[in-house]
Symmetry: none
Subunit: 230 residues, 2 copies
DNA sequence: GCGCTATGTTACGTTTTTATGACAATTAAG
DNA sequence: CTTAATTGTCATAAAAACGTAACATAGCGC
């Protein structure tokens, strides 16, 4: 799976889980821990593409840990977004001084979080990877706006692309037509539920050419599910 | 499938959007607004199944609005979860006094939020489902809407699914046909008792493919029992 | 075993839900 | 401006799920 990975280091459980959920929901792969010590272990396991770091941490403070990372030639390149409580604006300067790539005050909206993460990743040139979602032997490439199945590349229309994108980032779970409309078309638009059927049909037609139509599964009375296993 | 709807009334954008996102992600239908005035309009449009309400609001305070709702016979039944900043624990008492159904301090984890909402909805009788029910080596997953036996995944029809759901949550106990109709089909529908037999038969047929038909047991003169032990 | 009742099984008509093809409107491309 | 592609909607076909009746079979008291 080539989703971009984000490591969340935040001691407060509630906020950490909230962050992780938003990240997962937005297509990132989130790992999390409550302090710098564990964070170091995780870093040895796997290098994240970005770190979201709380300013205040028990033990080694966030800022101190960030400083160390930025001195370590091995970890220096990982972008860091600092988190801080509101009203400590003066810290912003210090944070950016030591090399943090951005700075966010709690509380923040999911949109803001994702926007900032994207911005940082773009700035540091990692965003290209984000363009790729992999599931099984299928690759959905947002940059090329292309779907690859096995070694075949095929083009899909914008709506089918978004639908595919949603499905590939949320596999194995049933979604009602309403939920799909909300998530893929966006809330606020009023569209007939039957329309989902039609687009499902169009997606299946495409997948059928590669013998994958059974990946889009009908769950009678509930909606649709996308799954590798039939 | 009509999802349960939750109205979020919270003036701080960041938190409101966060709430909405978590709710949507968890399968609820979320509507949102920043103050009590707009909330009233939304209420007239559609009655939500639950309200998540910030304690402090511009204009009419959350607590005041909640009090009014709880006096209004039309809205009284809507459960309310109050939100407050940490460190205002003493408000909890006041909140619950005026009829709020639960109380949450910011910040909170998505898990906690969803758990509390589910708990309240369960308590007030609007929900009874659990994402995953396990019995022996069988897993009934509402999220995927799938039944797993051993390592085989199989789809069952809506009615068989609900029947299975009921049985798996109430194993080893006999239920009469009437009880099953009440519980699985719903109290208000009139359906022949024999129909239960037929669906039992269909369920057995499915289970038989995996050598489990003896799990659905006939108790002559009383009804049926679902049990791992035969 | 006999007769009676409860339960199992099957087939069938009905209802509900989903799939599909066609069309018009809109948008994007050339 | 023309042409092609995309998209949403509708009408209709097809499929799945349901409930019911009819008949078969099995259990139970006598």
């Amino acid at each position: 799976m080539s989703r971009l990975s984000v490591l969340v280091v935040e001691d407060e459980d509630a906020i950490r889980e909230m962050l992780a959920m938003v990240l997962e929901q937005s297509g990132f792969e989130a790992s999390q821990c409550a302090d710098a010590e564990v964070a170091n272990l995780i870093l040895q396991e796997r290098m994240p593409d970005l770190i979201v770091l709380d300013w205040m941490l028990p033990g080694i403070s966030g800022i101190e840990w960030a400083r160390r990372l930025k001195k370590d030639q091995f970890y220096r390149e990982i972008p860091i977004i600092l988190l801080t409580a509101r009203g400590e604006e003066e810290d912003k300067v210090r944070g950016l001084e030591i090399g943090a790539d951005d700075y966010m005050t709690k509380p923040f909206s999911p949109k803001e979080l994702v926007a900032r993460i994207r911005a940082v990743l773009r700035r540091t040139g990692k965003i290209e990877d984000l363009a790729q979602i992999t599931l099984g032997d299928m690759i959905l490439d947002s940059e090329q706006h292309r779907l690859t199945i096995g070694d075949k590349q095929l083009d899909v229309s914008p709506t089918e692309f978004r639908l595919m994108q949603f499905f590939m980032t949320h596999p194995d779970k049933v979604y009602s037509r309403t939920q799909l409309l909300d998530q893929v078309w966006g809330r606020s638009v009023y569209i007939e539920e039957r329309t989902v059927d039609v687009h499902i049909r169009r997606l299946r037609k495409i997948l059928a050419e590669y013998g994958r139509e059974e990946m889009v599964q009908t769950v009678r009375g509930f909606g649709y599910r996308f799954s590798l296993i039939s």
